[in-house]
């Protein structure tokens, strides 16, 4: 496996995860992530040279459904949990100037 578990760029990972972390959280998670990655290292011992990956326990491929319109959520239901709304839409801060 690629790098040693103690040189994790926690800022890079937190930004990918869109997760603001405090300096204390960064230190804690970097250390605990290191512990878990060290534990995970044991997978190197398994011989997987001729093994196919398993994505799901039972193969279900290309499940097709007829493309038939059906009633969905009402506007009220869809917006019921929105943190901010206006004119039947979810309100967000300005994205483009």
């Amino acid at each position: 496996m690629p790098d040693t578990p103690n040189n994790i760029d926690i800022d890079y990972v937190a930004n990918l995860a869109r997760l603001a972390l405090s300096p204390e959280e960064k230190a804690t998670y970097a250390r605990q992530l290191g512990d878990v990655l060290a534990y995970i290292e044991k997978l190197k011992q398994a011989d997987v040279s001729s093994v196919e990956p398993t994505a799901h326990a039972f193969d279900v491929h290309n499940v097709w459904a007829a493309d038939v319109p059906a009633p969905g959520l009402s506007v009220e239901d869809a917006l019921r949990n929105a943190p901010a709304q206006r004119d039947n839409m979810i309100a967000v801060p300005k994205v483009v100037e």
Binding site: V13, Y29, D35, L43, V48, T54, A57, I90, V95
Partner: protein
């Protein structure tokens, strides 16, 4: 005891409802009274909509009066883990992120219960987004084990297990991604079933790790679990991973099948780390099956040692992707600190998620990040194949496997919270089944010297829940562990 109805099985209550010895409203009121009497100490429930519960019960009584009863669960209260959507009810997932969320629709499993006439009874506590083994990761409260309130009930479906064990509801639903039904069932002295992946629709089950998650029932007896399973099993067009398979009459099958079975004992599940009292109880259970004429065979699952490592790559990778939807934009907590749209993500997630969820998102993001994908996720998926093949090889020789459910009895609150890896190791006997998609049931098989319950895990073959439950039922009928209840 506030009511003679508490601790009765769903099957007994169903008979009393049918004989008009009790009404659904009286039964709902008895459960509400038991919750009022005990939940100050147990903290199983996150919310309880009393008016809605009594309205459902009145409808059940009206159906019965009109001769339109929908089956054995009609009028029987069923508690739901707060991760399974019920229209117009909260769906917090134990998270601040969804503290105010009210579900606009029903999960298919919830709809199955409604169609069976069950009274959907309250929202049960859980580890946040089902991540944990002790229910201590709930953002709202810590649930106590009814057998010793200084101890954890297990997790992540700790509220669902504790509510049944405390006689608050006869049956409940939980979800199991790495052991989250079986481990709390074991630690609370009740029966808990994780069905085969794909037997029950995941539509409306808030996703943690989609290739592992499965809904399943808790009850005092195998029969109650079979009755509840009946209402929720089956293919659903809304979940493309749900399987088209024939659904038998699980309760009727219990009475038909009597063995003897060929049962495997995987040697890797009896090594170091297994508490002596758990080993003794499970070995006695194995000896009982042998005495009934079952052939007991030692089998090997050689890749067991990799299961936890594989799980914590695959589950966290899937979680980091699934939980990306909690963005602070559409239906979750939104941080007031945010000034622009990107900032909303960072701060809303920082405020909305608890420490374990953040930890798993970080780990999952890391293992999926550019340059590491093949080394971690790709390799884990291949080892997952090896783990699955181990089980399929064993099932060429035997009908089912017997193992401990949890390496120890319920541990003390706070005992493992400082060390996440130690908490992860608590799932060692349950986690492989999720990776392999197999069904597993935990049934009570003894008590430790200090009076804490011990569970036997029986591992079945894919979609052979009827046989799995029959094997469990045979053991339960010959023992009285399931008739013991905690002093509350």
């Amino acid at each position: 005891m506030s009511s003679a109805l508490a601790f009765q099985t769903a099957a007994q209550l169903s008979d009393q409802l049918a004989a008009r010895q009790v009404s659904a409203v009286e039964l709902a009121q008895a459960c509400l009274a038991q919750v009022r009497a005990t939940d100050g100490r147990i903290n199983a429930f996150l919310s309880l909509d009393e008016a809605d519960i009594l309205a459902q019960a009145r409808e059940s009584d009206a159906r019965r009066a009109a001769g339109q009863t929908r089956g054995p669960l009609d009028g029987v209260p069923v508690g739901l883990k707060d991760v399974i959507a019920v229209r117009n009810q909260p769906l917090t997932c134990g998270s601040r992120m969804l503290e105010k969320f009210v579900s606009p629709y029903d999960a298919t499993a919830a709809l199955g219960l409604k169609r069976a006439g069950a009274v959907l009874f309250g929202r049960l506590n859980m580890d946040e987004f089902a991540m944990g083994s002790s229910t201590e990761n709930s953002a709202f409260k810590t649930t106590s084990n009814p057998w010793d309130t200084s101890r954890i009930p297990g997790g992540s479906s700790g509220g669902s297990a504790a509510a049944v064990a405390a006689g608050q509801v006869p049956v409940s639903l939980g979800s199991d991604t790495g052991g989250s039904i079986r481990q709390p069932a074991s630690l609370c002295g009740i029966v808990g079933l994780k069905p085969t992946y794909g037997l029950i629709s995941r539509y409306g089950l808030v996703a943690y790790a989609s290739s592992l998650d499965q809904i399943g029932p808790f009850g005092h007896t195998v029969e109650d679990v079979a009755m509840t399973l009946q209402a929720i099993a089956g293919h659903d067009e809304k979940d493309s991973t749900s399987f088209r398979t024939e659904i038998p009459d699980y309760r009727a099958e219990l009475k038909k099948r009597r063995g003897p079975w060929k049962l495997g004992v995987p040697k890797e599940y009896f090594g170091e780390g297994l508490a002596p009292e758990v080993r003794a109880a499970v070995e006695q259970a194995i000896a009982w099956y042998r005495a009934q004429g079952c052939e007991i065979r030692e089998v090997s699952l050689p890749h067991t040692e990799y299961a936890i490592a594989v799980y914590y790559i695959i589950a966290t990778a899937e979680a980091s992707s699934n939980l990306a939807r909690y963005d602070g934009i559409r239906y979750t907590h939104r941080s007031p600190k945010s000034t622009d749209a990107i900032d909303i993500y960072h701060h809303s997630r920082a405020e909305g998620f608890g420490p374990e969820v953040k930890r798993r998102i970080i780990l999952g993001t890391y293992v999926l990040s550019s340059g590491y994908y093949d080394a971690y996720y790709g390799r884990a998926q291949k080892v997952r194949t090896l783990i699955r093949q181990d089980f399929l090889n064993a099932f060429r020789e035997v009908d089912a496997l017997l193992t401990p459910t949890s390496p120890t009895v319920a541990f003390k609150k706070g005992e493992k919270t400082a060390n996440p890896l130690e908490m992860y190791l608590a799932d060692i006997f349950t986690i492989s089944l999720n990776l392999a998609g197999l069904p597993g049931v935990s049934v009570p098989c003894g008590f430790s010297p200090e009076g804490l319950p011990i569970g036997l895990q029986i591992v079945g073959q894919p979609f052979k829940e009827a046989e799995l439950l029959s094997i469990a039922h045979a053991f339960e009928r010959a023992h009285d562990f399931h008739t013991k209840h905690p002093q509350l």
